[in-house]
């Protein structure tokens, strides 16, 4: 197996995630896209770990999973808070920073 096939898969997933983050209106879906991005990072880490034989990559993948869990928790809490104040999770309606 080539190293690159995993890296390219990760790159594709990353870009799809970026697309999702930019173009989705629903806050929950944006968070899901962020999960995609984090997962592509994990694939990279594990692939490099397999490539070099060092176990550190896997350890960091575990850390990323933990951070992702934390991020989802806080992110969904924020989405809930927005939903309570705005009665919507549409990020287009949340534009208090509009100039």
């Amino acid at each position: 197996m080539l190293l690159n096939q995993f890296l390219l898969l990760a790159a594709v997933l990353f870009c799809i995630g970026v697309y999702g983050v930019i173009s989705r209106r629903n806050g929950v879906l944006v968070l899901m896209s962020i999960e995609l991005i984090l997962n592509s990072v994990n694939i990279n880490l594990v692939a490099f770990s397999a490539m070099t034989g060092a176990v550190s990559g896997q350890v960091f993948a575990l850390f990323v999973i933990a951070v992702a869990a934390a991020e989802v928790g806080v992110g969904l809490a924020i989405v809930l808070a927005i939903f309570r104040t705005h009665r919507t999770v549409d990020l287009d309606d949340v534009d208090l920073m509009k100039g």
């Binding site: 930019i22 534009d95 100039g99």
Partner: protein, 752 residues
């Protein structure tokens, strides 16, 4: 015990955690833990002192010419203990070398006539210079080949401070159980007292400068927390902030000094090594000068030296026992301790041994005099004592500045005792009326509070340096040092200022006593039922007063007019406390001890008594030009200057702090109004005359178009740019990703 001194700071640190954790649940709110821990520490400190005395009397191994054996216990972490034995040996090869050199260098009392006593003392000094400090350290961490150690250094200086800190802390703990009884943060108070005790002990036992820095900051933190103990009242939290921020100024100096010394001494924080190198001229004089000036800034802030002393009187906003412990007896002498610990650096950096004036002596002298002046105009008894502390700290720094090392530490020792006595006395006075205003709320208290009165009187006598109370011996030694040490002819300016300071001390203390204990009872004390406090307040006072009487005899000189004092009783303090190791500049021929001068002693005592007498005549007999400040413009102006504390607070808050906001803004506004507008107006007026001329020649429409289009261009571009601020987070995200992609693309192109 000497090698196990690390236990001493550990006990109150554990007590701090215990009090915080379970203090509230205990019947006495945690104070019992604090008292027990400090009592244990006191006993251990006495054991350390006894151990040190034994070590000086019977040095563990006679110092041969190839270096003293140092009881150097070096403990690495379990893994790396073998590798460390070697550096440890090297480390101590240096002081030993200094020692060998020092023994050939010679007479220690140059001014002394060749009296047998002096000879003997010289010999004795020679002998006990062989005692090296007990150093014990472990590797804290390693980084880039540099080992940072942490450990303890026990010598006479640490031992005396251990005893002083634990003794005063113990008495203050006992005093506080009554004084702050029922306080809303009783447990918190005792927890911080324990933390403070622990930090201060850690500081005095510090083996390297980095550790000193840690201890220095810790005591500052505790000071902050305890000044602001009643933070609900705005002035208290303001005072705490002021103390903290003023100390930050000095901390920068300390940090700079530590870093300079670290690199100058070949990447070591070890105080012994730094002092040794400084003494042997291995560090360039310029670096030593810069380092000692930086450290002096730190001393000025922590030990309340003139111009950075302003926080100390305000710090009296804290509870009175805290003032006694932290802001009179222990923490504020941290600066003095710092100088004493790194004396090799200061001694050589400021050329103390060979000059007749230097920055440190000057700062000390100015502080002692100006602080004493300020004490005259205070109506708050704690402020009087605070300025008195500033003044006495000035004496200590001046003593160090003139080279009278032992005198400074001796004064530190006696001052800690009698000033703690005075502060606790003022707390005892105010305990019932909750006011420290002696003009308004006190007066005539000597009958109702006899124990407080007598202990306060003893403390005052010690402060005013009336023989044979403690202060006399130490202050006299300082003045003798100013008279006799230095390059040639002593330090005449310092001598005069010190003597004047003695007169002021006598006068302001007499004034305070008049207001507090004599005359009619006024204000709160008249309406309130005043009576003597309970034993938990009076017993510490009596103990401290007793010590204030006898503490001075620990260093009775045996030269000059006092040569009849048996040798075994004389100069015990100097004998045991003076650093006896090779790293101390005492090895240099230029460093010496002043001898007792009966004339000077008499004169300074008489001057002090003259101050007392002057104040007595003024207040008791009503003599002298009363009401001078109302009649005389100059006197009024002087009074105003003192009342405004030389305007330093105004300088700091309004000028220096304010300049970062107000004046700069005003300056910019002025610049805008006068310079830019002036320019614009100038351009305008000249343009108008030109314009009327141009108006006829150039088509008005062209100009108008240009003007209008520039205006609309600005508006239009603003309108366009405004659209970019959509407030839509995802659009920002897209820009972020695009920007990152472009940047990465550039890198890829460059790299490939």
């Amino acid at each position: 015990m000497l090698a196990h001194a690390w236990i001493i700071p550990l006990i109150p640190a554990l007590a701090f955690l215990l009090i915080l954790g379970i203090g509230k649940k205990l019947p006495r709110g945690g104070s019992e833990i604090g008292i027990a821990s400090v009592a244990i520490c006191f006993v251990l400190a006495l054991a350390v002192a006894a151990g040190w005395i034994g070590r000086v009397n019977n040095p563990p191994e006679a110092s041969g010419s190839h270096g003293a054996e140092v009881e150097h216990v070096d403990e690495g972490p379990a893994s790396g203990s073998e590798g460390e034995a070697e550096p440890a040996d090297e480390e101590h090869g240096a002081p030993a070398a200094g020692l060998a050199e020092g023994q050939t260098a010679a007479p220690l009392t140059p001014a002394a006539p060749a009296a047998p006593a002096a000879e003997e003392e010289g010999a004795e000094a020679e002998e006990h210079h062989a005692t090296d400090p007990v150093v014990r350290n472990i590797t804290w961490f390693q980084n880039g080949g540099v080992e940072i150690k942490v450990g303890t250094l026990v010598d006479g200086l640490s031992a005396v401070l251990l005893v002083v800190v634990t003794l005063i802390s113990l008495l203050v703990h006992v005093f506080s159980t009554d004084y702050v009884a029922g306080d809303r943060r009783y447990t918190h108070y005792f927890a911080f007292l324990s933390l403070f005790t622990s930090s201060m002990l850690f500081f005095v036992l510090a083996e390297n400068t980095l550790q000193m820095l840690v201890g220095w900051e810790l005591v500052g933190l505790c000071s902050f927390a305890l000044i602001g103990h009643w933070w609900e009242e705005k002035p208290n939290s303001d005072a705490a902030l002021k103390a903290f921020l003023t100390n930050r100024v000095g901390d920068v100096g300390l940090l700079c000094g530590v870093i300079i010394l670290y690199f100058a001494a070949g990447q070591t924080f070890d105080t012994v090594a730094i002092n040794t190198m400084a003494n042997e001229g291995e560090i360039r004089h310029f670096l030593l000068l810069v380092a000692s000036l930086s450290l002096l800034t730190a001393v000025m802030s922590k030990s309340g030296q003139f111009i950075l002393h302003t926080w100390l009187p305000d710090a009296m906003a804290g509870p009175t026992p805290v003032s006694a412990l932290i802001h009179a007896a222990t923490m504020v002498v941290a600066g003095v301790f710092l100088i004493a610990r790194l004396y090799g650096v200061f001694f050589n950096g400021l050329s103390i041994g060979t000059s007749n004036i230097n920055a440190m002596a000057l700062i000390g002298a100015v502080t002692l005099l100006f602080g004493a002046f300020l004490a005259f105009v205070q109506s708050d008894i704690k402020k009087v004592l605070a300025y008195s502390t500033v003044s006495q700290l000035g004496y200590m720094v001046m003593a160090l500045g003139v080279g009278a090392w032992t005198a400074a530490i001796f004064h530190l020792f006696t001052h800690a005792i009698f000033k703690a006595c005075l502060f606790l006395g003022s707390g005892s006075l105010a305990h019932h009326i909750h006011s420290f205003d002696m003009k308004k709320d006190m007066g005539g208290l000597r009958k109702v509070m006899p124990k407080t009165f007598w202990t306060f009187m003893i403390g005052t006598a010690a402060l005013v340096a009336i023989p044979p109370f403690a202060g006399f011996w130490s202050k006299d030694e300082i003045l003798a040092g100013a008279q006799q040490l230095g390059g040639d002819g002593g330090y005449p300016v310092m001598l005069v200022m010190g003597t004047l300071g003695a007169a002021c001390t006598g006068a302001y203390m007499t004034r305070a006593i008049w207001y507090v204990f004599f005359g009619e009872r006024r204000g709160a004390s008249a309406t309130h039922d005043m009576h003597e406090n309970g034993p938990r307040i009076t017993v510490p006072l009596i103990i401290l007063a007793g010590l204030a009487i006898v503490a001075g005899f620990t260093n009775v000189p045996d030269t000059g007019a006092l040569s009849w004092v048996p040798e075994d009783l004389a100069l015990r303090f100097e004998h045991f406390v003076e650093p006896t190791a090779g790293y101390f500049p005492g090895e240099l021929p230029s460093f010496s001890h002043p001898e007792f001068n009966i004339v000077l002693a008499l004169v300074s005592t008489l001057v002090g008594l003259a101050g007392v007498a002057g104040a007595y005549l003024w207040y008791w007999k009503g003599l002298g030009p009363h009401g001078l400040t109302e009649r005389n413009r100059f006197a009024r102006a002087g009074y105003r200057v003192l009342e405004n504390k030389y305007g330093l607070d105004i300088l700091y808050t309004d000028v220096i702090a304010g300049s970062t906001k107000g004046p700069i803004a005003r300056g910019v506004y002025w610049f805008n109004q006068n310079v830019i507008d002036g320019l614009v107006n100038l351009v305008g007026t000249s343009a108008r005359s030109a314009g009327t001329w141009v108006y006829q020649r150039i088509d008005q429409g062209v100009v108008d178009t240009v003007v209008n289009s520039s205006g609309s261009a600005a508006e239009g571009s603003g309108e366009v740019l405004r659209k970019a601020q959509t407030g839509k987070v995802q659009a920002y995200g897209a820009y972020l990703f695009l920007g990152a992609a472009v940047l990465a693309a550039i890198f890829v192109v460059i790299a490939s």
